[in-house]
Symmetry: C2
Subunit: 664 residues, 2 copies
């Protein structure tokens, strides 16, 4: 039966053109083409096979990663891939490796914080991979509080060097990816001590290992920090620990774009604005939002296809049972996640526009939009990664028992994804930053400040405080204006309520601390509004292709109304809608599910994921789940013998009641 | 510094007697003593060490499990442990093994479904472990729908045997624990075919492996189904697959307590009521609720202790930074989970009483309370396991980056726990069963039926439909009566709303399917009410010990008000409370957190978990986190060399730009 498409029937039901939707998802024909080509290149190469990955012991997994990284680089050069193509190529290898940090953090840190001379010296070496670098910021004792890092870099004017040192156990670097076993260099963050003063935390390029034999340099202690969540997953990465015992580096290895240390050890601030750092954060977080949509799309593809294959109960007159995707509870759990994948995708596309906009403005020395851009990327990072982590696990549960098998792909996807909630800013810490910005925005309204960008709606304060939703029938919830107003009203009133409660406190900071749980909720409400409104904006653009716009409208409504239902407490507490209107929204949502249902498989096909990239038997394109599950089971090392190792020592004596004689 | 208690300061703050609370948690002095003794026995024995477990490759992990199981059995016999002690002893070994299914499912199935003769023949063999058994129900194609199983057991009157056969690929048994490599026997569920008729699914005792050399018997195909979620975790278990090719067993190996097949192949129903099966389900699910409270208590112990050790931000004048447990967002995430652990504990204790009550009534041929007991255990199983799974992951996130390390213990706890949401009834399928019962209860109100037990409140229909909460100030939410009424009103009105919507459908079943998402939400509301009301009932008992009752009252309020806040949409939509009252509840909750805070460490100490059982460096009793994290990292096999395997083949050629020469 090889080659049969068990989901063909589902595919035929679709009311839209899948090929056009692929272009929408990837952003352009060009982006689609590159992704498609790179995904297929990787998928067709046996070196990149992910089979059995979750069964490999740590050392073998790690060695396998080194092989893929080296071979990947070889192929990238043989094929003469552009930077963009190479980046995609690495993505589709889909195995965390030192290269992620080398390209994603080490090089950008030098580029962003280094001087022109430093660029000239270090970038070519890094870009040819003649050195391999990591990003060594976090320590055993400090992660979120970067300003609290303890590693010191003391300037020694006698030798024109910095002395890098780890004064305490908690100052040990801890977590940097690629550090443990591979990196030859790192951008190391340390407190600059010179001039008898502590100048705060700065980045230093430090060589860690010999380029001849790879051994750690004198005074440098390095190791891997050990196993992390899940099988396979992030264990292919050598997150490392690092200690310095008075290690000396030349003065010109401090990244000096913003602050310079002179031969005498004096500090001078350059005229480069410090805000530039925010530009980099906007960039990194924008990629995280895009990645969230991808991770979510993979989980949703698996759960959707399997929910169409899986049948349980409801057989009538001996006919086939009901596909579990037809159960409304299944739809109510799955379709909002499918809609979220699209919603986050468009939020990500908009963020990449925002990043360009911010960069342009920065170059023109216009910093006015930076705080808003920073708050909004921080918020969307937090919202989308938390939602995606939860969604992957929900997709796993949607697959019943079989979702618990590694061959479903979902356990590994979850384990490899969840740290996104923690790194690049703990999601709760980020929400509090957003809340701070929102409260400030509201407080400045009375000065007549006109808020712009994603907080522009707050300018309509008076209207938002008194408006009442006009929804009367379930269909009224289909109007973008009804949805938008409800989300704006809810978010604004929550922020205003927080502000009012804050004003009861004599000390603003104490009040902020005391009310932080409410503040975080208000921040979530604001971020959900952004996602909803960017989806609605997207639908105002011309989007070609048969049925595309229609089904995207349905998804937008599903995202909005399912979010509204899940958080209806906020909407009702702020009187943004009435209980009646809340009930109508849920009724309408149910009708929308029926419109999603025939399009479900086509909507996940539109993500264009190869079976290699999905790495899931339950999510196979052809739906040929059961025979493949059965075959895959036999690959487990335990199955190389009928009678397991340990039978003689442990099972037989037990059965024979001879344990007292056995050596245990 | 070995031996220093870094959490001593926290312990001194507690306002209650920890030793008394331990008795409350374990239910009695006797239960506490047994648990404490067994936990320490296991913890002090090096064979039961869990160190490095998450680094073991599958085969080694499995062999290690066999060793622990055999050695455990040896110790159980040497120490002459009672059944109760032995059960606890196995629990504290804390590594899933074939013994769980042998004692937990195989023996109970024979006991529950077998005749007296079958008991006499099989139970002694099983109890001495001269045979090892599994529970082979689920197939590749059928899990939730047990009636849809495809394995056949065809009676052959010529030989007085059943022929057990797997007619399709999807009829392969799939999932049974202990099946893959160890079990010699199984209770196999199959369709009984005799007399030219299909008599539905029944259990059969089938020998699977030779008792001489452990090889699978002729016609029997067995294997392990492969890796599951997480490192360590459930991979110590040999969940298996099983196929039969016309395997013959004597007639007397069908479990015939309920249905008998005669020598001629005729079926007769015994006078034993089929409802007995529900009794067993009540039993199993009651243990699952108890287990949920334990798993949750472990996660909460780790997150609470670490949140007191971890400091981040807020240093003033060079003093220590703020303990992260002092952040209100952290409290708002953590303390409701701590309260849930206690809430689920008491729900579990009550369920074990309910089970005894049901059993007594069954013996007196009184089946009247069975449907209610069944619904309520199904609902509590669903509620507590879903909440616990989510809570473990939240506890992991509460530990920031370090929670992602296996040495935090949380990844493994999550991975090993989550299938509880799926086995013994998929949680969504269970909620729909509860909903069905609730709708039925409401529909029978008009016949004057007086609902009893956990649905007794529905008897006050009139009051619940019109009552209004009298809460005016935040403190009013401390009254159990305010809480209870709000929860009853919400649950009842949600069920009534569902019933009304259902009555709009011509076909009740179609309506039920269409509205199933709403119905599931109503079921959750009902189950939360049960937990709240059992906690309140518990507090009506005399509970001795300094400060115990006071702090338990606080926890009860935290559980209730945090649940109310999280689901305030339901409370507001049903007008059970007003927006103002909802806000007051959240304010009161914040005050309650301040009362929990000084007691937090003592409240988790009261669970009495040994460091062995916790298996977490972050959760260590002494709080000595950082040095131990640092030392543990070095245990990873990757750290046995400075320069990793693969350096010569993959790293050096890359750095030296010689990949084109390398064989990859
Ligand atoms: C897989 C992975 C890869 C990583 N890679 C790198 C890398 O390459 N380089 C690198 O330098 N680092 C890396 N990190 C480290 C990462 O950046 C940190 O883990 C992250 O910054 C979170 O900090 P933390 O772990 O100290 O959490 P903590 O700050 O200790 O958080 C613990 C808890 O405290 C709460 N909390 C903390 N502060 C506040 C506050 N002010 N208000 C309220 N609540 C608060 C948090 O919400 C959380 O619940 C990595 C981490 C992981 C997990
Ligand atoms: C770790 C583990 C150990 C196990 N051990 C054993 C064992 O020892 N012996 C044994 O026999 N089995 C065992 N099982 C199997 C277990 O009992 C089944 O996985 C469980 O019954 C769920 O069934 P399923 O996997 O078929 O899920 P499915 O029923 O296929 O569920 C898939 C999805 O469909 C939904 N769904 C199904 N029916 C309905 C409906 N009517 N209405 C709405 N939604 C529906 C579910 O909610 C779920 O989202 C084990 C499973 C696991 C994961
Ligand atoms: Ca709800």
């Amino acid at each position: 039966m090889e080659g049969v498409d068990y989901l063909a029937g589902e595919r035929n039901k679709a009311g839209f053109d899948v090929n056009c939707m692929k272009i929408v998802w990837y952003g352009s024909q060009r982006d689609f083409d590159i992704s498609d080509r790179m995904a297929k290149l990787v998928a067709s190469d046996p070196v990149f096979s992910k089979e059995n990955r979750t069964m490999l012991p740590r050392k073998e997994l790690f060695k396998n990663t080194l092989k893929k990284a080296a071979y990947g680089w070889k192929r990238i050069r043989e094929l003469n891939l552009t930077f963009e193509e190479a980046t995609k190529f690495r993505t589709y290898i889909d195995q965390p490796a030192f290269t992620d940090l080398h390209w994603g953090m080490f090089i950008p840190a030098i580029r962003g914080q280094g001087t022109d001379e430093q660029h000239k010296k270090w970038l070519p070496l890094a870009q040819k991979m003649q050195i391999i670098g990591c990003y060594a910021q976090t320590e055993l004792g400090h992660g979120s509080n970067v300003q609290g890092l303890e590693t010191t870099a003391t300037f020694d004017p006698k030798t024109d060097e910095f002395v890098i040192h780890s004064p305490t156990l908690t100052s040990s670097k801890w977590w940097p990816g690629g550090l443990g076993k591979v990196s030859t260099h790192g951008v190391v963050y340390a407190r600059l001590l010179t001039d008898g003063q502590d100048h705060g935390v700065h980045g230093f390029i430090v060589q860690l290992r010999s380029l001849e034999d790879h051994s750690p340099l004198p005074g440098v202690t390095i190791a891997d920090i050990g196993m992390k969540f899940g099988n396979g997953a992030y264990n292919s990465m050598d997150n490392g620990l690092l200690r310095f015992d008075h290690v000396r580096i030349p003065r010109d290895q401090m990244l000096m774009r913003v602050l310079q240390v002179s031969r005498e050890g004096k500090c001078t601030q350059s005229d480069v604005p410090r805000q530039l750092i925010y530009g980099t954060m906007v960039y990194v977080r924008q990629t995280i939002v895009a990645d969230a949509s991808v991770a979510l799309s993979r989980a949703v593809t698996i759960a959707t296809r399997y929910s169409c294959v899986r049948r349980q109960f409801g057989s009538q007159n001996g006919g086939p049972e009901t596909q579990v995707v037809d159960y409304k509870t299944q739809q109510n759990r799955l379709f909002p996640l499918l809609a979220s994948a699209y919603a986050f995708r468009f939020a990500g596309q908009w963020l990449s526009w925002l990043y360009k906009d911010v960069t342009d403005k920065l170059q023109a020395n216009d910093f006015s939009t930076l705080p808003e851009a920073h708050a909004c990327t921080a918020g969307l990072k937090s919202l989308t990664t938390s939602a995606t982590a939860d969604a992957i696990e929900e997709c796993r549960k949607l697959c019943g028992g079989h979702g618990y098998l590694c061959t479903s792909g979902l356990p590994e996807l979850f384990a490899v994804y969840v740290p996104a909630c923690t790194y690049e800013g703990d999601n709760v810490v980020l929400l509090l930053q957003v809340a701070r910005f929102l409260v400030k925005t509201v407080s400045q309204l009375k000065n007549g400040n006109k808020p712009a960008g994603t907080v522009a709606y707050m300018g309509r304060a008076e209207h938002l405080m008194k408006c009442r939703s006009t929804v009367e029938r379930a269909e009224d919830w289909l109007k973008p204006s009804s949805i938008l107003e409800a989300f704006e009203t809810r978010a604004f009133r929550m922020v205003v309520a927080c502000s009012q409660n804050l004003s009861q406190f004599a000390n603003h900071e104490e009040g902020f601390a005391e009310l932080s749980a409410d503040l975080a909720e208000a921040a979530v409400a604001h971020c959900q509004l952004i996602v909803v409104s960017k989806f609605i904006d997207k639908l105002k653009e011309p989007i070609p292709g048969k049925g595309i716009k229609q089904i995207l409208e349905v998804l937008c409504q599903v995202y909005a109304l399912s979010t509204l239902h899940k958080h209806q407490g906020d909407f009702l507490a702020t009187a943004s809608i009435t209980p009646k209107q809340a009930a109508l929204a849920f009724t309408q949502l149910r009708h929308l599910y029926s419109q999603v249902r025939p399009n479900a498989v086509a909507l996940v096909d539109s993500f264009n994921h190869t079976d290699h990239y999905l790495g899931s038997i339950l999510g196979r394109y052809d739906g040929n789940v059961y025979p493949k599950l059965y075959d895959a089971a036999w690959q487990d090392p335990l199955n190389d013998k009928d009678v397991p190792d340990g039978y003689k020592e442990y099972i037989r004596p037990l059965l024979k009641n001879q344990l007292h004689l056995a050596k245990l």
